[in-house]
């Protein structure tokens, strides 16, 4: 096989694997941002977290559109805030690992 074609095909495999791994990390991040609290399911986002203490209402509508009464809003804020921070930092760290890995299929998988 022509060396130029071989190199191109190897690089294409690398690009595909990189894309796949980034997608898997993204899915894991989305999952890690989900918090189960008082029987409800909530997704921690910057916007939602900042709104928790700002609005004077103890009822929150969760991901499944079920209204949930949260009696300790401060604890709810802390739990969501921690989940969001941990998930985002983990996503960043794992992404950096694949970016800085050897630029080969095996290099990404070995991370």
């Amino acid at each position: 096989m022509d060396q130029r074609l071989k190199t191109a095909l190897e690089y294409a495999d690398y690009v595909t694997t990189f894309k796949n791994q980034k997608r898997v990390l993204q899915e894991t991040y989305n999952k890690d941002c989900v918090v189960y609290y008082c029987g409800g399911q909530f997704t921690a986002t910057r916007e939602f977290i900042t709104s928790i203490l700002a609005v004077k209402c103890d009822i929150f509508v969760d991901n499944n559109l079920t209204p949930i009464e949260v009696l300790d809003k401060e604890d709810f804020y802390n739990v969501l805030s921690k989940a969001f921070t941990d998930a985002t930092e983990k996503y960043h760290n794992e992404y950096q690992k694949i970016v800085k890995s050897q630029r080969t299929v095996q290099g990404i998988i070995d991370v």
Binding site: D13, T16, T17, K19, N20, Q21, R23, V24, E27, T28, K31, V34, Y36, G39, G40, Q41, N63, N64, E94, V105, I108, I109, V111
Partner: protein, 263 residues
């Protein structure tokens, strides 16, 4: 208030479902800290892996199914007729029924037991590869109703769920009729279809919200994909000739041959 996991393990010519069920039980203990019970027609030695071993000797109406291992396939006996009995046979008040080819790598499922909906199922599932058309599992047939996965079902003992599981038994007994009504091409009885039809009927022959959403997403690989490596919570698959590695992500790995090789 008892709660636990229920698995069905009916071995066939090639596949040792009991071995897979043991893997599920070990992972359930590690990640969910819950007991597991098994419904089986095999003689299983009670070594403490399962909390209850429920022997089911009732004559079954077995079918044949194609089992793929990558690009190689084989028709084997498929004993899938006991799911409808799960409600009657479970020893738990709150049960999460799982397929034996689900590789648990995180604690998402424990949240089933911390919410109030008595019936949870997955409606959507996501293939880990990049080229598969997700829509093949959207409906049970081209012009029919929403698809629900019987792979992973959480149910509480209550009147509604008794009606639900009795209805599934009825659908199974009258499968030829329901297959025609719901325009299902495949002749073999499939639990996913029976559960989906039951959901549709209980919702008043319409879309509805009688079934809640399972926590997290259902990720799967098909039996043409290869499970290459299991390292605690890290799984490596070969999908379309490309490796995909997951970490702390529970996956329904349908290639039972490659799963068994790694157990």
């Amino acid at each position: 208030m008892s709660k636990g996991i229920l698995v069905h393990a009916f071995n066939n010519e090639d596949i040792n479902y009991v071995k897979q069920a043991s893997m599920v039980a070990e992972r359930v203990k590690k990640y969910l800290d819950l007991p597991t019970s098994v419904i089986t027609d095999c003689n299983i030695e009670d070594d403490g892996t399962f909390e209850h071993i429920i022997n089911l000797d009732t004559p079954q109406n077995y079918t044949q199914k194609m089992y793929n291992n990558g690009n190689v396939g084989k028709h084997l006996t498929f004993k899938n007729n006991a799911r409808a009995l799960s409600y009657d046979l479970t020893p738990y008040e709150y049960t999460l029924m799982l397929d034996t080819d689900i590789i648990i790598c995180d604690n998402s499922y424990k949240y089933c037991f911390e919410q109030n909906n008595p019936l949870l199922m997955y409606k959507d599932a996501y293939h880990l590869g990049q080229n598969l058309d997700y829509r093949q599992f959207n409906k049970i047939s081209d012009s029919s109703i929403d698809f629900y996965w019987a792979t992973c079902v959480y149910f509480a003992k209550c009147k509604q769920n008794k009606i639900f599981f009795d209805l599934i038994k009825h659908i199974e007994e009258n499968w030829k009729h329901y297959r025609m009504v719901y325009q299902i091409v495949q002749q073999t009885f499939r639990n996913d279809f029976a559960f989906s039809i039951a959901v549709h009927i209980l919702n008043g022959h319409a879309k509805g919200d009688i079934v809640g959403k399972m926590p997290s997403k259902l990720y799967y690989t098909i039996d043409k994909d290869i499970l290459h490596k299991i390292n605690n919570d890290e799984l490596t698959f070969i999908i379309d000739n490309n490796p995909i590695k997951t970490k702390q992500m529970t996956v329904h790995a349908m290639n039972k041959y490659s799963l068994e090789e790694l157990l």
